[in-house]
């Protein structure tokens, strides 16, 4: 299975990848993007099976990325991994089409739980 990890922090991309493996996705192939704009291009060339994206990023944030993907008819599964923790913000993400929203910081259990059934 191929995951696209989108976050403007290299350290956080490392953590998401590490936690993904701890969550049971040892064999996952991982590609990375540093913001939504870059991710939009990578999705077209790499065709990941699932996207794990931060929310607040320069150039294009996670929600705008999700909306852009859906507008182009790309229905790749999308999960938001974000420091945005309030119910209102989580609802915004789900209304845009996110399969789940995980608040930072998160554990391998949180990620495994969220990915169960969707990836």
């Amino acid at each position: 299975m191929k995951f696209l990890i989108v976050d403007d922090s290299k350290a956080m991309r490392m953590i998401v990848q590490r936690t993904l493996r701890q969550a049971g996705h040892d064999d996952a192939e991982v590609v990375e993007a540093t913001d939504g704009a870059e991710a939009l291009e990578i999705v077209k060339t790499e065709q990941p099976d699932f996207i794990l994206s931060d929310w607040n990023m320069p150039k294009m944030d996670g929600i705008d990325l999700l909306k852009a993907l859906r507008a182009e008819g790309i229905d790749t599964g999308f999960g938001v991994v974000t420091s945005e923790s309030t119910p209102q913000m989580q609802e915004l993400a789900k209304d845009a089409g996110a399969r789940f929203v995980i608040s930072k910081p998160f554990t391998a259990y949180d990620l495994a739980d969220a990915l169960e059934g969707v990836a």
């Binding site: 922090s9 350290a11 956080m12 607040n56 945005e84 309030t86 913000m89 930072k104 910081p105």
Partner: protein, 169 residues
Amino acid sequence: MIGVEGVSTAVDPPPPPPMPESVTIKQMLDTLLEPEIDVAMVAPRTRSSEWRGLISPLVKDNGLLAAALVADAAFAHRSAAAMLMEPASETVDPRIDEMVLDAAREVLNVISGALNSRNTPHVKIDGCYQIPGTLPPSVEALLSYPLVQREYQISIGDYGSGRLTVLNW
């Protein structure tokens, strides 16, 4: 003569972001970082020209500055090292390189979640600046004259400890 009672049209300003409790910061860092975390609130210091570290402004959705998080150099280095799972070191280089800046900024980003609540305007991190250094005027003003200043001494396992400061108008 008939008096007309005036009706005030003044609007109460929105409440500022909540100041996080030590236990909240501990819980966040416990999950984010591998080492054992201890967080204790300590007496705030007066800002001095000798401060070294990072400041991350928190802005509301309208772009206005609401609060700021300040990591001293020790907390920036040690939390970054813990996040990157680098070997612990007692030395703290006052210079903050790109990797430390990236990791420490993300630590502050995670902590910023504690400054959002159901009853206060939404805030988010807007950049990360080195101190001393050139700061946006509003950030400089908040750093110099905060209305509320809360400080935490944070111990990160074998990495050592450092200070986190939360500033509010």
